[in-house]
Amino acid sequence: MLLLLLAFVGVFAQATVELPRRWLGAQFSVLPAVVVCAAVSADITTVTLVAVVGGLWLDALSANPLGVSMLPLFLVGFLLNRWQDLVLREIAYAQSVLGLLATVGVTLMKLVLLLTLGEHPLLGWGVLWQLLVVGAGGAVLTPLACRFVEALTGLFAYLPEPSSAFRTDREIKRGRT
């Protein structure tokens, strides 16, 4: 639920916050970062939900054909989720690298899908710069998103029970039995 909320706010921010576009010439991509967070910390159902719903939200606000973002997001999430035990998922720099690769991968896959569908997105040498900005954005946003989700989960979840040295089989019973 928290991941979905983050995806919703992320897509909205992508459509309304104009500073990266004005200063760097490209908009950051938030969804791949959220999908990475979901993939390294949740099960495949959550990853699928974030990819499908997030992709639909993004395409609804974009000139993309509806449904074009789902498959790339899911593919990245699926691969990471499948090998989540092999990645250093709790370390910030590992999350950064995953975010960078995921963002660039999702962007490239979307472009390939669009070209396959016969669309004509604006392409040129400037796209390389845009990929660089989007990748750097993903590298920064992914650890932040993961920390944010962890913090919010900590707020809403029950606190773990503190471990105790008490054992019932070693209890000293006093008095008459």
Partner: protein
């Protein structure tokens, strides 16, 4: 090995993708607007916030600066009234002459002001969402402009929002004429320079074109979407293409779409 949840996830995603990508254009458009209504409360919140900030800024303005602004606006108003009078006289004369020649009288332009509420989240489209829709009389293919010049056209219309594609997007081609030479061409998406939002290509020009930097480009009225006479931009440079068979030019748009907050939709 993939287990059952993995199979289910793959099936769901692939099926959904195939179904959605094969939806008819109209149905996909409706679905998009239905989904994007989820964001309307947030758009409303942001709009209210902006209005509050603007009002807050207005209350902080000094009396002296307000008086100066008032004085400037009064003078500007007088000049504009004079221009409006001259324009009205010219229009009356134009109508009379058209009547004498038996030509059809030109319809007057009606405009609808709109505010940009969102931009395309992807980097490869030039599209915005505006806060006017079918309830305000908007329909697809209406021209959109600012006082600086042409911006683009309305593509999809929802009940309270509409999508506008800018000149320079692959989905918005404009038939134009170069005022100084009378040559006609088509404004298309830039073949290079994706990062500069004001630079577009002017194609389909004749081989022996006499274009020079600084010449102005207006809509020609061909194609039926954009009325003739809307300013578009100025020529930056030109080059021959297709082994010397035709000429292409780069045009700098008059209107800066990257910093756009409000725009005007031309109603029939």
């Amino acid at each position: 090995m993939l287990n059952r949840p993995h199979h289910v996830a793959w099936t769901v995603v692939v099926l959904l993708t195939v179904v959605l990508l094969n939806l008819p254009e109209r149905a996909a458009g409706h679905a998009k607007f239905a989904i994007s209504t989820l964001f309307l409360p947030l758009f409303g919140l942001v709009g209210s916030g902006q209005t509050l900030v603007e009002q807050g800024g207005a209350t902080l303005a000094t009396r002296r600066s307000l008086l100066q602004e008032l004085d400037r606006l009064r003078r500007e108003n007088q000049q504009l009234q004079l221009q409006a009078l001259q324009g009205a006289a010219a229009l009356r004369e134009n109508d009379r002459l058209r009547q004498l020649l038996g030509w059809r009288t030109q319809t007057r332009w009606h405009t609808q002001a709109a505010r940009v509420i969102a931009r395309d989240p992807e980097n490869w489209w030039r599209m915005v969402l505006i806060d006017r829709g079918s309830r305000d009389g908007l329909r697809p293919n209406l021209p959109v402009f600012t006082p600086d010049g042409l911006i683009g056209r309305v593509t999809d219309v929802g009940f309270s929002t509409a999508q506008v594609v800018f000149v320079g997007d692959p989905k918005c081609r404009v038939a134009v004429v170069v005022r100084e030479t009378g040559e006609q061409g088509v404004i298309t998406a830039p073949s290079a320079g994706v990062l500069d939002h004001r630079l577009v290509d002017l194609t389909h020009l004749p081989r022996n074109s006499a274009l020079k930097p600084g010449q102005t480009v207006f809509t020609s009225g061909l194609g039926g979407v954009f009325p003739a006479g809307l300013p578009v931009g100025s020529v930056v440079d030109s080059r021959t293409v297709g082994y010397g068979l035709s000429t292409e030019a780069r045009v700098n748009l008059f209107a800066d779409t990257s910093r756009l907050a409000e725009l005007l939709v031309l109603l029939p």
